[in-house]
Amino acid sequence: VVAAPLDPQETTGAVRADLSESNDGAFPQSVASGGPTPSGAIVWTRVDPQRAAASDGPLRLQVVEAPDRKTANDAAEFDDATTYDLETGALAAARDHTVSVDLDGELDADRFYFYRFVLDGTASPVGRLRTLPAADASPERLRLAVTSCNNYLDGYYGAFAHVAEEAVDYHVSLGDFIYEYGGAGQQVGRDIVLPSEAGRDSGKAHTLADFRHLHRTYRSDEHLRAAMERHTLVHTWDDHEVVNNRWWNDEQDAPGTASHPYGGDPERMRELYAAGITAMAEYLPLRVEFTPPEEAPEDATAQDYFRLYRSFRFGDLAELFMTDERLYRDPPPEDALGQRDVALPPSPAADDLDRSMLGLDQLEWFLSGGDNPGGLAPTDGLLGTDAHWKLWGNEILTSPLQAVKARQLTFELNYDAWDGYQAERRFIMGRVARRDLDNFVTLTGDMHSYVAAYMKEEYDDAERVEQLPGVPDDRVGVEFMTPGVTSDNLAASAKLPGTRSEDAIDRIVRSMNPHMEWFNSSRYGYTVLEFTRGGCTYTAYGVDRAEDSADAARTLLRTYRVPSGRYELQEFATAPRDKRVGSLVADSTTQDPDEVEMIGASGASDGGPAPGTPTDGGPNGDTDGGDGSDEEGASAAGTPTPEDETDDGLFGDDEDEDDGLFGDDDGGLFGSLRGPGGDGR
């Protein structure tokens, strides 16, 4: 039980020193850690139900300080570990045999620890956790791996394997950790059969058993397990932890959505939320306020028994505000054409002053501060914090994504994001601007895209910082979006030609959204954010979701740096990929150490060859016989020109074209924001 963590009682000598992991299935979802505090973190595991039933316990937990940040989990030594006996009941079926142990108060600040669970002489895989720095510490560096949108059906988790390898301090998850969907996967072995009949019929989770099954399935993936074993999770949800594109209907005091059979039924929606939230609280190591719904007062709603928003302080270097954009938000804009989360045609209600995304209490907490769930110190809020970097972990696109269809008309694409709650966005950005807040960085997800953008109070003006010297800076922060790990991106949803169209899309999206520096919705992967007192660095990786391997091909896409004290996105690595076939070459050639000669080994190249003399390269120097065909291959691969791409129908000049980027039907990019069939996958 997360909100009432098991109280560890220290014991020693209870576990054999030579115990090693035995791969006998006792801990099928392995281990995980999350919710760090300066003196602990939550560690998690799940015991195989049959093993739990057959065991008298006790379940034990061992924790030992890691010798350094490099040591691999499987090289951990537990000789000097502290051993905890966990309360009987940890093996109970009530929480689906999941166990969350809060170590807050047990550990030293700013440290890595290894941990493992032990049951009846069987050790779990080794996990690693990291505590937060003390509130008054001055860390030099903070590195975060950031992920979102892990639709299991859509692809493999090679990106998580790479995340596991990253030398980061924490893993920030920005929601859609699971999807409510079952059914056939896009890849071999990625099907999900939901337990409930309604779930199987609709392809959407209906019951607690459905949600538990989804979490178990996702966490059975070895790459996701590896990432969870290696890094401490800081998570906020988005819609799919329960149901697509959801909101809160104040009149009914119940959740709403247009994407589920229960959508119009307040009571069943409350039950759906109870199931989704309960399963998430069971399966993820979350530091939140949560009372199991069955223990809550009878008329309590999710807003009463669950609070997700909280802030994590990394000494005085950074404070990360993890907000909840789903539990309190008002229904989508409604006008004469009805209530909808799609933004075409534009709705005047998108700008309504009384529509809120965060809800009043959370908004007040976010801006001005308040308490935090157990173990986390109260915050002074975004406007009050003295942390150098003010980080906002926020599931959904914060800056606008606009499209211009006709000359006079600007409209947004997706009312499910902050574009549907423009008044509140303007309010927040206005407060930030009035305070002249520096080093404000928003981390977002949800849209299965990479975005590097400036946040502003007003987006209608031209981007002014560089063009007109002397005009005051109107940027109030930067936004970095992390892409989907697997979930269909817009190019996939719109059936655009993969990465070949990515730079054309980037150009056109930026032309309509001058506050954006980069937009890419043609790849999958993750990002790494690094913060020092000198600057913030955003590194974007693409990872092939079609390869079920820890070595799935990874591409370094871009790196941006934001210097401390001013809002300027400085790009390090830029390559207009659409005019080259490098990626095709890279994909088609194999690397084989057999064929590699190494630098410096022969000593022959020290002085370099004399001009005109035979080279020292041996046969390699002469093996250029394939050049001609390579060249031909390049052109045969159809290197697209920019003209080609813009003719792909991405932006369908022709008003009658429905499959253009901004076509009205589902096939277009606009439609894909809802996803195929409007499900927003």
Binding site: Y541, A573, A575, S583, I599, S605, P609, A610, N620
Partner: protein, 653 residues
Amino acid sequence: MSDGPDGQAADLSRRSLLAGVGASMAAAPALVGSASGTDASGAIGQGPQGVHLAYGFDPASMMTISWTGRLLGGAAVRYGDPGDLDTTVYPEDAPVPGLDGGVYTARLTGLAPDTEYAYEIDLNGERKRGRFRTAPGRDRPDDHGGSTDAPVAASDTNSGRFRVTAVGDHGIADPTNVVQRADTKDPNKVVELARSRDPAFHIIPGDIAYANGVPGTWEQYFETFEGFYGETPLMTVPGNHEAEPGTGLLQYDRRLNDAMPTYDPGLNIEAKQRWYHFVYENALFMGLNTTADACGDIGRGEEYIPLYDPRCETEAGLTYGEIQGEYISETLAWADEQPHIDWKVVFFHGPLWTTSPDHAPRRDLRKRWGAHFDEYDVDLVLSGDNHVYERTRPIVNADAGAYMRAVENGDDPPEIDWTHGTTYVTNGTGGTSHYELGPPEEFLAVQDGDHFGVTELDIGAESIDVRYVAMPPIGDRDPADVDPQETATVVDEFSIVKDEQGRPTQATLVDRAEPTPSLSVSGERRDDGTVFQPGGTNQVTLAVTGANDAVEVRDLVPDSWTVTTDDEGVPYGDATRVTSGPGGGQYVYFGDAASRSTVRYFVRAPDELGGGGPATFGPFEARGTDRFADSDWQAVSGTESTEVTVGLPGSGL
């Protein structure tokens, strides 16, 4: 190491069978430094050539790889752990004037500190591979995560020190270039010498290729020195010879400035940034530009445009010199506040303090930039321009400037304090020529005009140990007979330390045992699997994926496995000899296969069921055969493999 014909054939046969790569299999990756393809005309070939590295903003996590090649559209760099190039990045490209091709610049970010990486450039189907090492992360070596740990200054031990080499006015003998400067192999020997000193990175403070308007000389330059620059980051600033007739600094900008850690999104050519800084462990390095060309009259062939010439005024109303002045002041002030930065080293082309009459000292910069160096206690300034070696006494520009003005005016110079201040080293002895030495002025400590060589900095917590490691010109000797490691001597050596007030001063160099370079080998093992039937045969392939010497290898075969041989006892595959090894195992040697990057042999699993339990092959071991010929056998980490024998004997069932 070079593949012998045999090794090549063996590799290709396997590859072609397994992967069926057809035509592209012939294009096995070359190593950087094994020049291939460029002819003497300096034309740009199809594949990558002239590879050179530079640090990004953060040497611990960023590296830039540049090369030239045809702009046909297919370029990528794969990089990663030497055994696993799992990440791809695509380069930017830009044409270079005067050649059919362009410069590719790939920026690698997100690298782990103090880590060896391999990279493979893939251009138009041709591949070239090299390696580099990232800088140690200042706050990350074996910290406990310890982001709050006290800053780790390099301890004053050998392992905590790092080495940098620097020399300006380099060049390359290019017989096709009638306006070339270098016409001997001395520049090649200087690179050989620098490389033998094994620096973390190499600085050229200007006058790099002396192309002087002939682009092919740039190609020759980078092609020739690829073996060094392709593994050792090259940090440069422009000299007057980078401002070339007709094209100005364009060749430099495309080939080198774009690779330096500048951030310059603007298009203002007058203000184009050719200055930058980076922090390596406990030292700030700041490169500056004393060559402004955008406002000069190229037609007049002005070699030297005053940086404070109002013709160079930018939109912001600042001269090129003033912009840099602001940058210098801000950067040094910032560095001064960083507790972990012990040293400030600045490099640029035109020297402030020199006697050689060919290029007068930059008196204008003494007053302007020099004031910042004084204020922030810059420890060392490296320049070139004059083809001599000169080391000053510690100088405070304001005082020494007044002193020299008095001397030059024939007045009695004021009493000044030469005991602290910045040391200025002019070293333009890259191999192009020598200039006259001027009179040994009071501000000079050492001058030398007889050698070519590098200024070597060994930087630790307590001192910068400086040596001028240099050799006489080749002269009439056959270049092939000149071994820089044998002929080079330490012409000058001193230390820069801090006085009681924390100001830089000079001291006699306290001899520390030099870090001894040692054999470093990485490799991989591939075999047929991990589970064998009794009596089954395992084909083992050992690959050396990286080594700083030619090596021979041997493998350790576990007890009860048998190296298979023909009837005459000759092992199959590449093995030549089998001896008994530890633990009842056997060593397999490969004789003259030492020059190959991969070797194969075959072993037979034990006949009995279980085979006595899991058996571990390796790790295989390597021994240097050239540079480290006296090295011991050294295990190649990560090349163990454990095999289990299960099931019935192959003859059963």
